[in-house]
């Protein structure tokens, strides 16, 4: 019991660290999960745009602005050059449309004036450009063939009103699952950091020269001692996993309580176990606590960046993903991505998922073997 108690005494000492990574996870998912609610009806994506109108807000100009406001999120930003520039840089707005003075007059005179725009050139900007271009095309046609401004406006609006019917066929609620996926992907970083950091610190504390000597001369059998350490480590990993599952339950609510959600949690448990074996391996490499914190930072951050915990995997370059195959986190996140796409869940469909989990377990076994080899060699040296 003494060993067991000491183990959790040290865990308690590092509770700040656990708290820090948990808060990071909450912050990260909090920002991403709070966006739009579940939806099985089609809602159009609306690009964020800014209109800077120097013309009088009447007639054709007014109609253009009205149309843009209906089809995009028109942002209100203080008309200061710096604020506008910043908003464009950070993609708060994707498209800026500058309507010049005398725009309406020029149009009615049949001049087809230039419109200045600024664009971020991404998906949303393309969308905004489509919306603007479509309007101007229609306007050009009617201006050429009609004289009366009111008639032109009426016809523009009539032609633009034609809408096709659109239906979503998928029954599963993709936005909710997307959120769950985000949560578990980022959790890989927090889980791994919390498990490796703490367990490495604890194991190195036990290996401190003086303490190690005292343990060796004590009446306790070293086999028993090691067994207790192993059990305590497993218990700690299990507690962390429970903590993260509960946190997921609070953030994701009943989405987590489906078969899909449970597989997500099982995957996380396998991953947590794998992290434990990594921690044991690292702690056999060195007894220096400062070195441990360096190694752990590189291992956990590196895997998170390269395997898609921070950046969605579809955005990662192909060669990075190929390289990531040798990292356990890659297999964990692949399972999450597969789970996200599943329409129906049956034994045949989850086969690749089980295979990924098996690879994680094989990784764990590999780490244990490496650990044994290193400790054997170290013992010989001593």
């Amino acid at each position: 019991m003494t060993v067991f108690k000491t183990y959790f005494k040290i865990v308690k000492k590092y509770k700040g660290m656990i708290l820090l990574y948990t808060i990071l996870l909450i912050l990260f998912s909090g920002i991403n999960l709070s966006t739009n609610d579940n939806n099985t009806n089609f809602t159009k994506e609306k690009p964020n745009i800014l209109i800077i109108n120097k013309d009088e807000n009447i007639g054709i100009t007014k109609n253009l602005i009205h149309y843009l406001k209906k089809n995009t999120n028109t942002k209100e930003i203080e008309n200061k050059e710096q604020k506008i520039k910043d908003a464009l840089f950070y993609r708060d707005i994707n498209y800026i449309i500058y309507i010049k003075e005398n725009y309406r007059k020029d149009i009615l005179d049949g001049k087809n004036p230039k419109i200045d725009i600024k664009t971020t050139k991404d998906y949303n900007a393309t969308l905004a450009s489509q919306i603007l271009t479509r309007y101007i095309k229609v306007q050009n046609i009617y201006v050429k063939n009609m004289q009366n401004e009111q008639e032109i406006i009426k016809n523009i609006n009539k032609s633009l009103e034609k809408q096709a019917k659109i239906e979503i066929t998928s029954k599963i609620n993709t936005t909710q699952i997307e959120k769950m996926n985000l949560y578990f992907n980022f959790a890989s970083y927090s889980l791994m950091a919390i498990i490796i950091f703490i367990i490495c610190f604890i194991l190195t504390s036990f290996k401190n020269k003086n303490i190690h000597k005292r343990i060796t001369i004590s009446s306790m059998n070293y086999k028993k001692h090691n067994r207790i350490i192993r059990k305590a480590s497993l218990l700690y990993v299990f507690i962390v996993w429970i903590l993260f599952s509960l946190l997921g339950l609070i953030l994701l609510k009943d989405t987590l309580l489906s078969i899909r959600g449970i597989i997500y949690m099982v995957n996380a448990l396998v991953f947590a176990f794998c992290s434990l074996t990594i921690a044991i391996m690292i702690s056999s490499l060195t007894n220096n606590k400062e070195a441990v914190s360096g190694i752990v930072n590189v291992v956990s951050l590196g895997q998170a960046f390269l395997c898609g915990a921070f950046v969605p995997t579809q955005w990662l370059p192909k060669n990075v993903l190929t390289l990531a195959h040798i990292l356990p986190t890659y297999w964990y996140i692949q399972t999450n991505e597969l789970l996200k796409k599943l329409e129906i869940i049956n034994l045949k469909e989850i086969k690749p998922i089980l295979l990924n989990m098996l690879i994680l377990i094989l990784f764990s076994i590999l780490f244990i073997i490496i650990n044994n080899q290193i400790s054997k060699r170290k013992q010989k040296i001593e």
Partner: protein, 378 residues
């Protein structure tokens, strides 16, 4: 005495592997991770070809305008190609959609057109917009035919329609650059570890070497200045290596005259150095706690200036500007950002002045804590 002290501090610092890891190797590793993870982000946000299916039934064959437009938009020779279209029957289309091989499919019924998609998204919206646009053109043709304009003439009007958009966006708009700027900021502030280590080393209440040097008859200010100069130089070497690495290996674009960048890096390091000394002198705790505090302050500052998510910097700048005005990590990041994106130097100068003020404040604070220290017993 000055040179003696300087030389030995340099030796002590360069032999401490842990310190060197955090100030030299860690930023380079982190920069490499950034590069691997973010190098593709901005490209993948550009539009890719959208895969769709069209149910090839009688109704579709009647729709000349749709047929022509989709042939045009899926033509491989077309520069503005948007779609890759599969013409098929309804069962196959359903299957393709289920397997997520296509974004959606179109069914032409007698009176209207239906679009079936899997989810909400950009591609789906673009598909809908195109269908709407063709619908709209059909309506235009109908309206103009009613006005007795010849069909061929209407066709000409529609095809010769020119939209004059004048793109005036400035060139430098790559927001992933912010990540690398925060990395430089982090390294500048992490450099504080060096000055903190050295200050601790010289303080009587934190190390035995400190006790010994304290009773030696040399001028304390001179001694401390020599040591700090050594730590500053080590710090600058670290920053210089990182700069070389980001410029030549990671191809980061600083896009401004080198003297401005060097000035910013020098002042940024000075801010890190002064932060390190002030934590070492003002906080009366053991060394681990001090390191913890320095790293927490640095990481929090980098978080607020966009390291873990670039939008965070914008959110803070927009809503709580004061928080980023006093944040040294943001002063450095924002300095690089203004050099990269702005045409004028006003914002850059503001950041330079803030960094100077920050460093002076920190040094004055620690000077007050350092001078005339006396101990009856330690």
């Amino acid at each position: 005495m000055f040179s003696h002290n300087f030389k030995y501090t340099l030796k002590i610092l360069l032999k401490n592997k842990i310190l060197l890891f955090w100030t030299f190797a860690f930023p380079i590793l982190l920069g490499t991770f950034f590069h691997m993870a973010f190098s593709n982000i901005e490209n993948s946000e550009k539009l890719k070809i959208i895969k769709i299916a069209i149910i090839n039934n009688e109704n579709y064959q009647k729709e000349e305008l749709f047929k022509n437009t989709f042939t045009h938009l899926s033509d491989k020779k077309n520069k503005d190609r948007l779609f890759s279209v599969t013409y098929t029957n309804i069962e196959k289309a359903k299957k393709l959609l289920e397997e997520k091989k296509i974004t959606g499919y179109l069914i032409f019924e007698k009176e209207n057109i239906k679009i079936k998609v899997n989810e909400n998204g950009i591609n789906e919206t673009i598909l809908k917009n195109i269908v709407d646009e063709i619908n709209c053109n059909q309506d235009i043709i109908k309206t103009l035919l009613n006005k007795n304009i010849h069909y061929q003439k209407i066709q000409n009007i529609i095809t010769q329609n020119e939209v004059k958009l004048n793109n005036i966006t400035s060139k430098n708009l790559s927001y992933t650059m912010i990540e690398y700027y925060t990395l430089i900021a982090m390294t500048c502030l992490y450099g504080g570890i060096l000055s903190m280590f050295i200050t601790n080393y010289k303080l009587a209440n934190t190390s035995s070497v400190g006790k010994r040097t304290s009773i030696s008859p040399i001028h304390k200010l001179k001694m401390l200045l020599a040591s700090l100069l050594a730590s500053y130089i080590v710090q600058i070497i670290g920053i210089a290596i990182l700069f070389m690495y980001t410029i030549f290996v990671l191809k980061v674009n600083y896009s401004s005259p080198i003297p401005y960048i060097i000035l910013l890096a020098l002042l940024g390091s000075l801010a890190g150095l002064s932060l390190g000394i002030s934590i070492a002198t003002l906080i009366k705790k053991d060394e681990n706690t001090k390191t913890g505090i320095l790293i927490s302050i640095t990481m929090l500052g980098c978080f607020l200036s966009g390291m873990m998510g670039i939008t965070m910097k914008y959110i803070i700048d927009k809503n709580i500007p004061i928080l980023n005005k006093i944040n040294p990590a943001n002063m450095i990041t924002d300095g690089f950002y203004s050099l990269y994106y702005y045409d004028t130097l006003n914002r850059y100068v503001l950041n330079i002045v803030s960094l100077l003020l920050f460093s002076i404040c920190m040094i004055l604070l620690s000077y007050k804590g350092l001078r005339r220290q006396k101990y009856d017993s330690i």
